[in-house]
Amino acid sequence: MSVMLRVSNIEVVYSEVILVLQGMSLEVPEGRIVTLLGANGAGKTTTLKAISALLRSENGRITDGTIEFSGAIINRKEPENIVRDGIFQVMEGRRIFKSLTVTENLLVGAHLRRDRERINFDIDTVFNYFPRLRERHRQTAGHLSGGEQQMLAIGRALMARPKLMLLDEPSLGLASLLVREIFEIIMRINRDEGITILLVEQNANLALQVADYGYIMEGGRVVLAGDCETLRNNPDVKEFYLGHSDRGKKSFKEVKHYQRRKRWLS
């Protein structure tokens, strides 16, 4: 099993002063789902944006380390060339084009593709994954519900036929039933389309169920890594990310104390 994406020791600075990532490393093997977990502000989204080169549009910069994709170093590439290489980021908050129709959104996802004749076929594939989008294909995307917008965002990414999909919080702001549905489709996309997935999630419970391998970030670097089975059974992960513990119920005071005493970073 070959490594598709290798992030080694990157350092990311915003506005030349704010250090967000320091010594961040991770590997994504081809064909797998890897998840990146961590609290707010740990640097998960920044890691994804460093890979997709969207960092520069936010005045961020990779000041150290390398990002390798299929053996080639890609840290200095423009976002459009990253997409051309086969990496596609589904940004947090869906970010669909609100004034375009559903079909137009999908077409924009295929912006860089040259095989025009296959695009209609792929639109149909997306509609098979998300039948609700087919019903609404002529509607303005801004009028879709939150769940439908998330489906559209993932469908739009499929239209680019990427090798690696970076998913940033696909469950954000959705009802739990919908979240299940979307995660099942993410697994199907991984299995049937052979697309490797790097998934950033707040819902650690769910993410550790669908992924093969997990990284836990804190303060701009990885503090814990392992296959998801191991992570699920790790007592610290249980306590902080899954919200239950082997040691029975604790009082809030004790939990706080425990957290203060035992940080990942220590």
Partner: protein, 294 residues
């Protein structure tokens, strides 16, 4: 009644040119968020370039017209490359100030090259007027409307169906998301300036044929501004409706009010109407209200 129809016709003619030039203005605003104060000067340059080709190089008008369009696209690219691309990522207000500077530079360049005197196009369109019922229309008016409508239609189709047009709308909606689709912002921005220059030039050529050509053609941009604001700065259909409305208001106020107040109402009334409409609809007739994030 005939007088009214006559005013209506000239209002629609001038209004369609406003609409065309406002399309470029709105496009730049939509895609780059920059208010382009040099749009009127783009128009003036277009009028002068075509005039030079026709009068000084003695080229046939249609060839000169096509060449003017090519030159306009080239100038649009050049301006984007030299003046605007280095400003990418800078505060929008700085770029807006830059367009004001650009308008002065273009105006001075025209003065240096062609001088301050009025110039006129040679006779290009037949002067035999066409009678539509009781209304009399000169041929240059018909050609102007025809071309304005043609270009408005072509660009509407372009934005709606072409890959590049869709990319432009995507950038207008959400720049960073467009970036994540692999859309090159630089290319889209360059295209917006080219199209803006192109439509302004086309408007300039016909306006130059209707009136004389001088530096004050640049002030036409002042009229495109209310047309665009009236329709809603970020709406292309709005630019068309806004342009036609301003043209009509101008013609009607010029026809009916000028004799009463002794002239000048043509310049003022469009702005008064603009203010009234903005009081009722602050984002213009078709503009999208900026939604606040919760």
């Amino acid at each position: 009644m005939d007088f009214f129809l006559q005013l209506l016709v000239s209002g629609v003619v001038v209004g369609s040119i406003y609409a065309l030039v406002a399309l470029g203005f709105v496009l730049i605003y939509k895609v780059t968020r920059v208010i382009n104060f040099a749009q009127g000067e783009f128009l003036m340059v277009g009028a002068y370039v075509c005039l030079a080709l026709v009068a000084q190089l003695q080229l046939p008008f249609w060839i000169a017209f096509l060449m003017t369009m090519a030159v306009s696209v080239g100038l649009g690219l050049l301006i984007e490359r030299l003046a605007l691309r280095p400003m990418l990522g800078q505060p929008i207000i700085a770029i807006i100030m830059l367009t004001i500077g650009l308008s002065s530079v273009l105006k001075c360049a025209v003065l240096v090259i062609w001088g301050p005197n009025n110039r006129a196009y040679p006779q290009i369109f037949s002067q035999v007027p066409i009678h539509l019922g009781s209304v009399v229309i000169s041929q240059v008016y018909l050609w102007s409307v025809g071309f304005a409508v043609l270009f408005l239609g072509l660009f509407t189709l372009f934005f709606r169906y072409s890959n590049a047009g869709m990319a432009m709308r995507a950038v207008a909606d959400d720049q960073q998301a467009a970036l994540s689709m692999g859309i090159s912002l630089k290319k889209v921005f360059a295209m917006a300036w080219c199209i803006a220059f192109l439509v302004a030039s086309v408007g300039g050529v016909f306006l130059g044929n209707i009136n004389v050509v001088n530096v004050s053609l640049g002030f036409f941009g002042m009229k495109v501004f209310p047309a665009a604001v009236l329709g809603g700065l970020d709406s292309i259909p709005g630019a068309i409706v806004g342009g036609l409305s301003i043209g009509l208001i101008e013609a009607l106020s010029g026809g009916y009010l000028d004799p009463l107040v002794g002239g000048g109402s043509k310049e003022v009334i469009p702005f008064i109407v603009l203010v009234i409409i903005l009081m009722v609809k602050p984002y213009g007739l078709f503009g999208r209200a900026a939604s606040a994030k919760v």
